[in-house]
Amino acid sequence: MSDFKGLTEAVIKGDIQTAVAETQTALDAGANLQDILDKGLIAAMDQVGEKFSTGQMFVPQMLRSAKTMQECMKLIKPLFQEDELATKGKVVIGTVRQDLHDIGKNLVAMMMEGAGFAITDLGVDVSPKDFTQKAQEVGADIVAMSALLSTTMPAMRETIEALQEAGIRDKVKVMIGGAPVTENFASEIKADSYAPDAGSAVIAAKKLLSIS
């Protein structure tokens, strides 16, 4: 079977049920794994990216397509060798201590997940200690913090200090964002990266880990 039209269409539509069924059919028919991935799923996501950048698709649709692709990947992943299909990177994300705003953080998490990162979302009001412990526990590549209150921004600095104290600062990259956060602030507290919105957060994360 060389035609993945049904699969690509389902991914573009964000129709999880159909896409998963199409993937299963392809597998059952003995299709080449790399083909399902390249000509089916990735080809679909390329079209999604194209449609998004020309304004034909909106963010919720794009996120749905990414989610659909992930569900299909669940079927394919176990069949690949361990190192053939590494995830892009492990990200521990949360809104900093005493801050309850989570809409922006959730968007960043969704977009990163859609782009293939493995996300551990700690939610809101996350203490420096919790960020650090979780980062150690999962072996995070990136610690991503969001703050929406100018008054909770200092918790970002404290979290970086906590990572330092735990001896893992050089093992993780730190990314920050949120309406009052600025590029200047990021360099002031020695974060590795700042992103002004969810789309650029994905680009920044890829850059941090030198992946395309």
Binding site: G55, F58, V59, P60, L100, I103, L107, L149, S150, T151, A179, P180, D197, A198, G199
Partner: protein, 478 residues
């Protein structure tokens, strides 16, 4: 001039009923998540249904009605000098500025900077001097203050720069207590403040359908002291609420009713405003959009929803995504302020000063918005039709071909019939050139300088100021 019948209603009576019923179903079946056991216990003791496993409180219809019936349909947000009392629930529309931004567009430098304590004082002075803004909301974060005496300071400097009612958010119960102790001291007696509260407190649930324990601590403290409050939901269509206006309204109405109900459990008869801050997301790129035209429609509809229960409403209008006072800010602000006002909201907050999706303010925007609100007030007062205004007598007297410039009738009516703007440029072209080509913005800038140069500081009595500073050493000077 008295307000006439509101001329625009986004919802039909049938729509209102359907939304209300859906909200009540949400409260009964889905419930509100409350993240603090002690509050769940209080609600349980009062008769609410508690789902212990997922920390949810549910409101059975008959119980909800019984609790809501305790809420007052009218009360007053007092000014300190009695000149600007805000009479809620009397069919009059009042406007307030917006609160707690972190950034200001500084026209002196043309750039943005973090807000400071002096900006609290200056914005309070502006509101004090601007006739169409009826009460002051603590406008910004004072980044030069330490957290421990935060609300002692922002309320003190606000109260020292305006005699109008002062409303503000408090970060914690301790913060609310500081604010209350200061206010009692200024009032003279606790009873005095209880009778005529000149301060009030803003809180918010977390949409969808969640209320934080800290928020409930603040509410329960304020209600016990008879300090008016609101617990105003801020659902965002397409992000934290359904991507339909009706769906967002159903969820918002449920959250707002829950806020009112919980306050009535804390203190029966508590002075609480039904709150509404529904906004939207631009789903093309997920840009938060506070000032969409749908926001204006939903806030208008929220007034209709509050009215079914006869609760005074704290609604929203006057926001913009624009980063400077410009064409976009002018039209976005006008749409929402006008629409919400035409629906008869008791209090429209965010109505003045805001820029940049609620993240920034500018002093100039305060005076510009004051003028927009002046025009809206003029629209609300409508066309007065009576024997005198019909003017048959003067029409007969002037007759065909004459003019009305010097007539008694003109002189009698000219002041009250028309709204006279301070900022709009109405001079002719040549004069405009002669005056250096002013614009609404340049004139706003001049007016701000004039008001702030006058420096109406020290509205509290000098002796009182000294006593306050002795009693509250945490107060910082400007």
């Amino acid at each position: 001039m008295p307000m006439r019948l509101p001329p625009y209603r986004p919802l039909s009576p049938e729509d209102v009923r359907k939304i209300d019923q859906t909200s009540r179903r949400i409260l009964e079946r889905v419930g509100i998540r409350i993240l603090e056991q002690s509050h769940l216990n209080i609600l349980k003791a009062a008769g609410a249904i508690i789902d212990q496993s997922d920390q949810k409180v549910r409101f059975e219809a008959a119980w909800l009605d019984e609790i809501l019936a305790r809420a007052p349909s009218q009360f007053i947000l007092y000014s300190r000098d009695g000149k600007n009392d805000v009479h809620l629930g009397k069919g009059k529309v009042y406007f307030a500025n917006g609160g707690r931004v972190f950034r200001i567009l500084d026209m002196g430098t043309g750039g943005y900077r973090l807000t400071m304590l002096r900006d609290v004082a200056h914005t309070a002075t502006l509101v004090h001097c601007l006739d169409n803004i009826s009460l002051y909301i603590i406008a910004c974060q004072a980044h030069d203050l330490q957290p421990q005496h935060y609300h002692l300071n922002d309320f003190y400097h606000a109260l020292n720069h305006t005699t109008k009612h002062v409303m503000g958010g408090c970060d914690s119960r301790e913060g609310a207590e500081q604010m209350w102790e200061l206010s009692v001291f200024i009032a003279g007696e606790e009873e005095e403040l209880r009778e005529k509260p000149f301060v009030s407190v803003i809180t918010n649930p977390i949409s969808p359908l969640t209320i934080d324990g800290n928020t409930l601590d603040i509410l329960s403290f304020c209600c016990s002291k008879s300090i008016p409050v609101t617990c105003a939901p801020a659902p965002i269509s397409g992000a934290t609420a359904p991507a339909t206006l009706a769906g967002t309204l159903c969820q918002m109405h449920a959250e707002a009713l829950a806020g009112v109900a919980i306050c009535q459990v804390f203190s029966p008869g508590a002075k609480v405003l039904y709150g509404a801050v529904p906004t939207t997301m631009d789903l093309r790129h997920m840009e938060y959009t506070m000032s969409s035209v749908e926001m204006a429609i939903m806030n208008g509809a929220a007034v209709q929803l509050a009215m079914i229960y006869d609760f005074p409403i704290y609604a929203s209008g006057g926001v913009t995504e624009a980063k400077r006072p410009d064409i976009q800010s002018g039209c976005e602000k006008t749409f929402s302020n006008l629409m919400v006002a035409m629906n008869g909201a008791d209090l429209i907050h965010l109505a003045a000063g805001m820029l940049d999706s609620g993240n920034s303010i500018s002093y100039e925007q305060y005076v510009i918005d004051n003028e927009i609100i002046g025009m809206i007030n003029r629209i609300l007062s409508g066309i007065s039709v009576n024997e005198g205004t019909l003017g048959f007598g003067v029409i007969e007297k002037v007759g065909p071909g004459g003019n009305y410039v010097m007539e008694d009738h003109t002189i009698e009516y000219m002041k009250e019939e028309f709204f006279y703007p301070d900022l709009s440029v109405r001079c002719n072209f040549d004069i405009w050139e002669e005056r250096g080509r002013p614009s609404m913005l340049s004139r706003a800038n001049d007016l701000v300088d004039e008001i702030l140069d006058d420096g109406r500081e020290g509205l509290l009595d000098t002796d009182l100021i000294l006593e306050i500073k002795k009693k509250f050493p945490g107060i910082q000077n400007l």
